[in-house]
Symmetry: C2
Subunit: 228 residues, 2 copies
Amino acid sequence: MVTVIEQTSLVGVAEGFPFLAGASQATRDLVTALPVRQVAPRSPVLHRGDGVDGVFLVVGGSLRVFYIAADGHEATLYRVRPGQTCILALTAAFRSDPYPAWVETEDEQLSFVLVPGAMFRELYNAEPTFRSFVFEVLSGRVFELMSRLEDLGSLRVEQRLAAFLLEVVDSSGEVVLSQARLAAHLGTAREVVFRALRTMSDAGLVATSRGRVKLLDPAGLRRLHQYG
Amino acid sequence: MVTVIEQTSLVGVAEGFPFLAGASQATRDLVTALPVRQVAPRSPVLHRGDGVDGVFLVVGGSLRVFYIAADGHEATLYRVRPGQTCILALTAAFRSDPYPAWVETEDEQLSFVLVPGAMFRELYNAEPTFRSFVFEVLSGRVFELMSRLEDLGSLRVEQRLAAFLLEVVDSSGEVVLSQARLAAHLGTAREVVFRALRTMSDAGLVATSRGRVKLLDPAGLRRLHQYG
DNA sequence: CATCGAGTGTGACTCAGGTTCCAGAGCATG
DNA sequence: CATGCTCTGGAACCTGAGTCACACTCGATG
């Protein structure tokens, strides 16, 4: 399931996970001793139904957790960024439930640390800062999923697209994703994304080119998301 | 925000929350000493934006966590049943975030214990069984929200209605909710619920009467949910 | 028993968005 | 430079579901 293409050692784990700063030396040693693993961009990490006894601490790159519907269309449930952890694997670690979604890396190379289930339980029970970290990640995910549910149930595709563009825009103000990829994130069809982008483009909010969307008016997009 | 209409003492908390059995005597005493509070059926408990420094342990009745969209329509995000806890208040207890949704009681009288934020933190840090409980509730909620998101994004209203009816059916095989209430749960319009019920009724899956839906063929409803 | 509110039953209309199909542009490859 | 893939642009169509308007029925209440 996890295609590890390379192993380096303790790079950036301590910096990426602030809870380690407040943890005991023993915990720090334990976690930083774990190998940092790498997965290539755009590669599968987990399939629905997979069992994983471990927790992913994402150091670099990002994960996309998504579903694939019966008719084949897919949609992103949430994304795991550096400093976060993959809740599902974590949950499966405690419950040994089957994994309810697919996970793949996004456009950057992923680097992560895999904390085995046993070690996770130990840390969760012994280390207050780790406990807080777990609580924050889990409850933050609940908040995030709730607001996604609300958006999905009450906003038009164009508004959800605006929100998504703002979420994934890079430092240069661009979103480097094809219309098809955007559609897969939103759970809609490519043609629908095209129409929404044309409307936005006509309104001067974005400029499109092959494989990318330049955000010309982020404030306007934010308004579009909130007030339609 | 919480309209407490009555206070009784330690009824059913120990039975409803198995984690207490494995907890220390001190913890058991602490929790069972908390008053069991009551709220009338169909009453508001929290408004969006409310701050609550505490956690609801639901002993009897149930809570409905929902949003209200800009156009006034509402939809249920999730429901909190006996033995569970209201995650949002719990999260707000740690983060002091504003509360992102509305909460109201459902058709039964609610009885619950309010664990103050400070006591929650103490228990979370000191009591392993409580920790597991919190983890289970939170991660279970994440699973639930993910599958709701998937259903909302890939199923027709009729399929989602079938799933909801199966979720809330009582022991006598009936769902005691008006079409308007069903619509509010699903985030759709009453007329749409009516049409879906007529289709189901024509197919012999349910029988409708004023204010209730009798499930004639639960297996058929399950098939409808899964395969359309 | 008259009245009123809440609930159901229904047709007609509108619209966002999904579907189908195709043209053409950009870009990498042998 | 020819081939082929990916991507964008776009028309035409279909459908699920939200909206509007209204009649009717049930049950509670004065």
